[in-house]
């Protein structure tokens, strides 16, 4: 039998447009063109997985190696037995164009199904599967719509045909199995053939339900509805004042559960749940129900309100005794939670139930749409398992699938054109038949025996890599790839940004556009920075992700671009700040900034550009956007003979672009551009542009009396009122105070931003007997210090004040300062009083090592730089560590220290 490699007209499209998932990647040139190129031949060898059986070595083995197939350990988690039998009997019949060879092809036709069945028993036995029963799976009708929406928006449809994959999955799997598989793609696909599209469990379940929806239709195409164990529940994502209010509200989501509790809650506070269905009692008689909840709940039985435990309260239990006939009774439980902890349980006690207990699953039922896998009970058969094990080896399954063994086949060097073996029409015993034409047969032999190996160009390697990984159905690189017209329509996003707002980005030149570590991270973790593109970048397993990234970086840096490092100055940073805002090029009209919405379209976040892009690419792109992204909506702001802002940096184009880069280099801790309308939600505090924001909180690692200060420069500090010390500093976002401002509050808060710096324990001021005495860490009161509060200076920055026992008082000023690496802090200590107590010192830093960078300038081992002015700071050896200390003897002394971290 000659295997037809040309399966449909689809194959006549350029090969790069073919998805790697729908079939063998064999160029159509094969079947019709005798003038085969070397590339075509390599592709054939890879797709036929020749190297899996026939040994090669060295670079050649790598170049010709096939992509690894899915793992089939735990096949029982992915496949139903009957489908797997059909698949193994004839893969091509189940999935036309599959790469899976017809392994049982050498058997007489009538034996294939039996052997396939043996193999299934063997594979399932390997997974330690015992009897498998296939139960109806209830689902909420509304998830079908959500599943369909996901399939056609997040990227599935770029590679899979919706109808085909649905009909496959309906026979192949179940809702729970597929839900797990969709969230754990790498578990079965170490090659990344099916990469992991990020999704949560609810999404995976919706997708799975939609994909196997055929199981929930009867022969006439009508929905299947049945009684199932458990109750239906509806979720509400808001708070209520009463169950009556909940009953009037529109639910958002729901499902099935066999337990009446808060376990299905959508979040910890501000939610509601309604359970509905029926319960059964075996005997007639009086039953006592106990409904316990925090906050409110109400129980209805047979349509009557039986327990009213409504209201905002801690855990309260209420009971009711109800006379019930044996049989089924409708039940409804409503429950809502405002702030604080939540609780819900319901117990029953009565004839035959001597001890109050929750309902058992089998005592609850509800009618529901169900998916019913049409699958007989599977019971492992020992004889089949043994026969299957032997067939697994005989038919060479283990050439590709685990546990792998290299079958004893001829090595390349031993092959001759006289014996086509598996390349011919007839499958050798225990082998497969590829049915290659004589031209291909001889071409392959010629390729594999060529003596001189030609190393591929880097670009060629890159192309193989992104093709194998399946990048090209979505992305274009150098004119190749991208979705075809039909698929293209499925990509959706924001209309205002045109195709850039909906299509995945170009891969042309990606290796010198993004920083190498960003490429690696993006491929390995499925990073997506354009929230408006609905398609999700999938994550690839290692080492595939690393290989793809390395290949792209190598191809695009040949030859390497000249390096470019913009120079920092305060003037440049300030010019950049201006140019990005509404007094400049108004970048924020279209671009998001540090998560804050733009004034118009939601394009790529400006604050992450510098950490992702290469400065050379940024410079080139800004000067001529069309050169890098043909058709982009990004305007051109600089013109050869005309500067829009001639006064800034002399109107010099490169200097202005570099200035923007300098400003953006501070990332999300850069001060907000002018004109940005900051989106304040209730709990993410964002300091105003004019003055710092203060908030009193409990803070992890400090105390229950902390004043957090967020400065407009996007630096923040935490001052510990209990221990009279500067405790922490950080950059970027200030603080989320939900734990302090929501509900009863009282949570320990943490900095919201980055680069959190913890200051040395204890107060910065102290009194010691000798300059290198151990720093006093006793409670501040015991040391004679007490809080005097703070005053606000002209900028309304707080100046913290402490008072000592001998009339000495200390003010600590803390002000943000801007340097090349971003925002840092200046601390200024002002000592006043009649006299200074003997032994008064400041301690500014402690570390195992202090590197001296200049006069009164040190860097700690942890990378904190301190520059001290105004007094004689020195390094003191204390208890084996190095400490920067400053003796204070004169009233009026002012010590300034810049802290860079």
């Amino acid at each position: 039998m000659r295997r037809c490699l040309c399966l449909s007209l689809l194959w006549l499209l350029p090969w790069v447009l073919l998805t790697p998932f729908t079939g063998v990647h064999v160029s159509p040139l094969f079947a019709q063109d005798s003038d085969l190129s070397r590339d075509d031949l390599i592709r054939t060898v890879r797709d036929a997985a020749c190297m899996k059986c026939h040994q090669g070595s060295g670079v050649r083995a790598t170049e010709f190696a096939a992509v690894d197939p899915p793992l089939i350990l735990r096949a029982s988690d992915r496949f139903r037995p009957e489908w797997l039998v059909r698949w193994l009997t004839n893969p091509e019949a189940v999935e036309p164009g599959t790469r899976m060879p017809h392994a049982l092809g050498s058997l007489p036709e009538e034996e294939r199904e039996e052997t396939a069945r043996d193999l299934v028993h063997f594979l399932f036995a390997r997974d330690r599967i015992n009897d498998l029963e296939w139960l109806p799976e209830p689902f909420e009708e509304s998830v079908l719509e959500k599943g369909e929406e996901l399939f056609f928006s997040i990227g599935c449809a770029a590679c899979h045909d919706g109808d085909q994959i649905s009909s496959q999955m309906t026979d192949r799997t179940t809702i729970p199995m597929l839900t797990t598989e969709l969230q754990n793609a790498h578990r079965w696909h170490p090659s990344g053939r099916m990469p992991q599209i990020p999704m949560d469990e609810e999404e995976a379940r919706a997708l799975a339900t939609w994909l196997v929806r055929g199981q929930s239709l009867d022969g006439d195409g009508n929905p299947v509805v049945d009684e199932v164990q458990g109750l239906r529940y509806e979720l509400h994502h808001r708070s209520f004042h009463s169950c009556d209010q909940l009953l009037e509200a529109e639910p958002s989501g729901g499902g099935h559960t066999t337990v009446i509790s808060n376990a299905v809650r959508p979040k910890d506070t501000d939610f509601g749940i309604r359970f509905v269905g029926s319960f059964e009692v075996k005997n007639s008689g009086a039953y006592t129900f106990a409904l316990s909840s925090d906050d409110g709940s109400v129980l209805w039985i047979d349509g009557e309100k039986r327990i009213d435990n409504d209201g905002s309260h801690g855990t309260v239990t209420k009971r009711a005794t109800v006379q019930l006939e044996a049989g089924w009774h409708p039940i409804q439980v409503c429950f809502w939670q405002g702030a604080g902890p939540s609780h819900l349980d319901l117990t029953i006690e009565g004839p035959g139930i001597p001890q109050a207990r929750p309902f058992k699953a089998e005592e609850l039922r509800t009618r529901s749409r169900v998916a019913v896998p049409a699958e007989p009970l599977f019971r492992p058969d020992p004889a089949r398992i043994i026969r299957g094990g032997s067939a697994y080896n005989t038919h060479g399954c283990n050439a590709c699938h685990e546990p792998k063994a290299l079958p004893k086949r001829l090595s390349w060097s031993e092959m001759t054109s006289g014996n086509p073996g598996c390349m011919g029409e007839e499958a050798p015993k225990g082998g497969v038949a590829y049915g290659f034409s004589p031209e291909i047969q001889s071409g392959i032999l010629r390729l594999l025996t060529e003596t001189e190996f030609v190393a591929p160009e880097p670009e060629q390697d890159a192309h193989w890599a992104i093709n194998d990984a399946g990048c090209l159905p979505c992305h274009v690189r150098d004119g190749a790839g991208g979705p075809n017209a039909e698929i293209n329509r499925l990509f959706r996003g924001t209309a205002e940004l045109g195709d850039e707002g909906r299509l995945p980005p170009l891969l042309t030149g990606i290796g010198n556009k993004l920083r190498p570590e960003v490429i690696h991270e993006t491929v390995a973790e499925g990073l997506k920075i354009r929230p408006y593109v609905l398609t999700r970048m999938p994550a690839y397993p290692q080492p595939v992700a690393g290989h793809v990234s390395d290949m792209l970086i190598a191809a695009d840096n040949e030859p390497p671009a000249p390096p470019h490092t913009p120079e920092f100055s305060l003037e440049a940073r300030s010019a950049g700040h201006q140019l990005v805002g509404t007094d400049g090029f108004r970048c924020i009209d279209c671009h998001v900034f540090a998560g804050q919405p733009s004034l118009g379209e939601p394009a790529y976040d400006l604050a992450i550009m510098a950490e992702r892009l290469q400065p050379r690419w940024f410079l080139d792109y800004m000067k001529d956007p069309q050169s890098k992204r043909p058709g982009t909506r990004m305007p051109t702001f600089w013109f050869p003979d005309f500067a829009l802002y001639p006064d800034l940096l002399g109107g010099d184009t490169d200097a202005q672009v570099d200035a923007i880069w300098t400003y953006l280099s501070a990332g999300s801790s850069a001060p907000f551009p002018k004109g940005l309308i900051v989106n304040r939600n209730d709990y993410d505090l964002i300091p105003a542009a004019e003055e710092p924001t203060l908030v009193g909180v409990f803070m992890t690692g400090l105390s229950a009396r902390v004043i957090a200060v967020g400065y407009p420069e996007r630096a923040s500090i935490a001052w510990d009122m209990e221990n009279l010390r500067l405790g922490k500093a950080w950059r970027g976002d200030f603080i989320n105070v939900q734990g302090t401002w929501a509900g009863r509050a009282g949570a320990l808060e943490n900095p919201a931003g980055d680069d959190v710096l913890n200051f040395p324990p204890g107060m910065a001021v102290g009194i010691v007997e000798t300059p290198n005495q151990t720093w006093p860490l006793d409670p501040v009161r015991d040391q004679g210090w007490r809080a005097r509060g703070y005053r606000r200076d002209e900028q309304r920055n707080p100046v913290f004040r402490i008072q000592g026992s001998e009339g000495v008082s200390v003010e600590e000023f803390i002000d943000p300062v801007i340097r090349e690496s971003g925002v840092h802090l200046q601390r200024r200590f002002k000592f006043s009083g009649e006299t200074m107590p003997l032994g008064l010192m400041l301690r500014l830093a402690i570390s195992d090592q202090m590197e001296e960078l200049g006069p009164r300038k040190w860097r700690t081992e942890e990378g904190v730089t301190l520059i001290v002015e105004g007094a004689a700071a020195e390094i003191y050896e204390v208890d084996g560590k190095k400490e920067i200390r400053v003796p204070i003897s004169a009233p009026g002394t002012v010590v300034e220290v810049e802290v860079q971290w």
Partner: protein, 497 residues
């Protein structure tokens, strides 16, 4: 008019009351006391913790649970002006002016603030006293400060409830006073009395005595109003170990028995202070909070010199008539104005004898359609038909009324449904009413003018010390034939004359 869901439930589940009757009551309250909301600009969230009027006409300062103090000008106009006086405070739950400083108590300190350049913003926040500590529990609130006749600042400190991330601390569940800080700005803490639970209001009476309100829970049978004197013990066991420290003004009470009535426990611990007023749970609110004496001399209606107490859960203001018998304070509690838009935490007098009411229900929930806000109550000038006072006489009580009553209804003993009960001091959350015993009105003698009636009580429950006498009187009628606006009163008896 918006009818509250809880009220609907109440109406539906209560067959004796016709819904129309209750609606009539709602209407009636607003006929005498009108509620006016103070509009807040967008971005200002007034979860009111502290409230003080002035200085100056139309000026009110409000501290919020989020830690802001707002200065409001033109408060009573349609467009009040809000200025952020200060941010960054930790749950400031009270405000008080003293010598040009605005005092507030944060979780961990008594502080004072001052605007030095007159721009409406505080320039200095001074720590006056931080002699107590925090474990980092949400329930460690501090209430006050209120200045007594000697210049001490009274503060009541909540006990924690749950996790204490920074470790257990002293003085939780205490009433403390801070000595006058006028010398150097620092004041020393004097722990005056212990055994408090959740003392959400502390106030100095016009004559100088200090009172506080407490909230039902473990070791607090129901909400109560107590007179505080140095050395008093109020029954909550949480913080009693602090009494062993030398600065404590309260002796250690030893072990508090779990499950006896308050009067029984007092036999064992003589300095256990009985409440001046019990607020029977749910009948008189569910969470007593701030309070204020009616010093308007009639400007706010017929209740001059009485005490008004806000209730957080019921979104209401209650009324208390206090009397001192044999040197001991006791009194009677009555409903006054309900159906505010949100739980009422603070009250203070504003301009023109209006009662400002600061509201918040975050974390606890309350009746009403709002979650926070500032409103005021204004007397419409119409006299509500109410029981004005309820005072003990040798063998019963004398009720007085705001309007002349129909003497025949007053003198019919059948018109008084009387009950007598008390509460347990115990570790479970709240106490039921216990030890109910029968009480009857033996005789009812009305005054000539119909403004009062003397009730002689008899029966096993009559006139028991440490017990509540409850009068339910829906059948009393005014001379004009109207029922009383709030036909019930709950009198606590500590002393008989």
């Amino acid at each position: 008019m918006v009818i509250l869901p809880t009220l609907i439930l109440l109406i539906l589940s209560s067959p004796v009351l016709e819904p129309t009757f209750n609606e009539a009551v709602l209407n009636d309250e607003s006929k005498y006391y009108e509620v006016v909301d103070i509009p807040t600009p967008e971005g200002v969230l007034l979860e009111v913790g502290g409230l003080v009027a002035g200085p100056g006409e139309g000026v009110v300062y409000v501290s919020t649970r989020r830690g802001d103090i707002w200065k409001i000008e033109n408060t009573y106009s349609e467009t009040p002006k809000f200025t952020l006086f200060s941010d960054g405070l930790q749950e400031p739950l009270g405000l008080q002016w003293h010598n040009d400083w605005l005092y507030t108590v944060q979780r961990g300190e008594l502080s004072r603030l001052r605007d030095e350049d007159g721009d409406g913003r505080a320039d200095v926040v001074e720590t006056v006293c931080d002699d107590w500590s925090l474990s980092g529990n949400y329930h460690e609130y501090a209430f006050g400060p209120r200045i007594d006749k000697e210049g001490n600042f009274w503060i009541t400190l909540n006990k924690p409830f749950g996790a204490e991330p920074f470790g257990r601390q002293h003085w939780r569940g205490w009433a403390i006073k801070v000595e006058d800080p006028d010398q150097d700005g620092f004041g020393r803490m004097i722990p005056a009395a212990g055994g408090l639970r959740s003392p959400a209001g502390v106030e100095v009476a016009p004559w100088g005595d200090v009172f506080y309100t407490d909230n039902q829970g473990e070791w607090c049978g129901t909400n109560k109003l107590c007179h505080i004197e140095e050395g008093d013990y109020f029954g909550h066991v949480w913080g009693v170990e602090s009494a062993k420290l030398p600065i404590s003004r309260m002796k250690h009470p030893g072990e508090t028995p779990d499950g006896k009535t308050y009067v029984e426990v007092r036999e064992q611990i003589p300095f256990l202070k009985l409440p001046a007023v019990w607020f029977p749970y749910d009948k008189m609110g569910k969470s007593a909070a701030g309070m204020v004496w009616d010093t308007t001399e009639g400007g706010f209606g017929p209740f001059a010199n009485q005490l008004l107490v806000t209730d957080q859960h019921h979104a209401s203001v209650m009324r208390v008539d206090l009397e001192k018998v044999n040197g001991v304070w006791q009194g009677a509690a009555m409903r006054f104005r309900e159906n505010l838009d949100c739980g009422a935490l603070r009250a203070c007098w504003g301009d023109n004898d209006v009662l400002l009411v600061g509201q918040t229900n975050r974390g606890w929930g309350s009746r009403g359609k709002k979650s926070e806000g500032l409103a005021y109550l204004r007397w419409t000038g119409e006299t509500p038909p109410e029981i004005r006072t309820c005072r003990v006489i040798s063998d019963g009580y004398r009720l007085s009324f705001t309007v002349p009553m129909d003497r025949s209804t007053l003198e019919n003993p059948e018109n008084y449904d009387v009950d007598n009960y008390t509460y347990k001091l115990h570790s479970p959350y709240g106490s039921p009413e216990v030890d109910h015993k029968e009480v009857r009105v033996a005789s009812a003698v009305a005054s000539e003018d119909g403004f009062s009636v003397e009730l002689k009580l008899e029966g096993p429950g009559a006139m028991r010390i440490g017990y509540v006498t409850e009068f339910i009187v829906p059948n009393l009628r005014t001379a004009e034939g109207q029922p009383l606006l709030h036909p019930e009163v709950y009198a606590t008896l500590n002393e008989r004359p």
